[in-house]
Amino acid sequence: MRFVDEYRDERIARGLLDEIARTVTRPWTIMEVCGGQTHTLIRQGIDQLLPPEIELVHGPGCPVCVTPLALIDEAIEIARRPGSILCSFGDMLRVPGSEEDLFISRAAGADVRVVYSPLDAVEVARRNPDRTVVFFAVGFETTAPANATAVKQAHDLGIENFALLVAHVLVPPAMTAILVSPGNRVQGFLAPGHVCTVMGWTEYEPIARDFRVPIVVTGFEPLDLLEGIRMVVGQLEEGRAEVENQYVRSVRREGNLEAQAVVAEVFEVCDRAWRGIGVIPNSGLRLREPYREHDAELIFPHEGGLASESEECIAGMVLRGRAKPDQCVAYGELCTPEHPLGAPMVSSEGACAAYFLAGRARAGVPR
């Protein structure tokens, strides 16, 4: 596959690893924000191939992982109603709510359907005019244009039985929250390449400047990640703190203006709770008028009780990069992909699942 295969070339990877090893002179802690990047890094063993001075910590870049428990519970509640159809991206089905998950609710009779594209959910609504079709709109900025288009299309075509359950989160406020938190050790970032494809990188410039951290917009293939790491290390060694772009084939500074326009038309920024982190101001999106009539939270007021997390799950610490999955007491024993306690073990992009599936033992415990 073009623009994919060549970015997996082993010889160039070796060359980049050598260059990184030659450049680095002291320990550095770098965070990659995006779950898709975590996935590649762990699966390819890149973190193990890097020189030991470089520590990679995994950020909260898995929207599945950070969707609040209460919203999962609400999605399940909606799905269980006879007059509803809940449409969702595949990986949301396994995320544990307070009692169960969407998948189990489907086994019990709820109409839950996996879709690949939000437009497919609109099609379901078109075909089932007597049911309310709710699309579980999870994602970062990358997915916002798609979700916005779906609800705009439904609105413009008069498809009244289509609604969104919005769980959108934004990256820059999350990065800032990490940087201001006490005990933060992150010194440089790999910024998410597809988020920046849509949004550009201007929002990251003040962060780089104010916190004096290098930020490199990075892609998802092994060579992208190695090159991005090389660029961050280069800046750190030279004492620079700028935004640079590694993912030149897809990202421009201003991003995708048409995509940003539809997001601005349909959504507005709001405060949002991040599972395992808490409320981060201005870190989410919600529907604005005239699209509010498609807001599932207004159509189906949530009755549920207080959502509760497992006590042993340290997902929040993992999501903030403060703990590694293999340091968690429950990792690999009580908490595995078969019976996860927290979201990062469920999504294949979650740091815990990535570690587990790549066969990492619990720190200090032979596997």
Partner: protein, 93 residues
């Protein structure tokens, strides 16, 4: 997050008021929304995320960057995978 895969636009059409295209990913095709890649034409590559094109691949920038990467790997004129045709791609990944 953000699983985005590059594919080649082989057809452009309209559906339910949106500009759509058929995109080929190394031999497999799916329709995708091209509203946010208004300048894209046939045979261009786009990055697709959940059925939407979020960018047009800048082939010149990619080639320029790749040449630098190849130098890092001490490679000269390496053989890049071409568009999907032929048996060569079929047996090796």
């Amino acid at each position: 997050m953000c699983l985005g895969v590059p594919g080649k636009v082989i057809e452009v059409f309209e559906e339910h008021g949106l500009r759509m295209g058929t995109v080929d990913f190394g031999g497999i095709r799916r329709k995708a929304c091209l509203e946010y890649a208004p300048e894209v034409g046939l045979d261009s590559y786009v990055v697709i995320h959940v059925g939407f094109a979020i960018s047009v691949v800048d082939e010149e920038e990619a080639a320029r960057q790749y040449a630098l990467l190849a130098e890092m790997g001490n490679l000269e004129g390496i053989d890049l995978p071409q568009d999907p045709e032929g048996v060569r791609d079929e047996v090796r990944r």
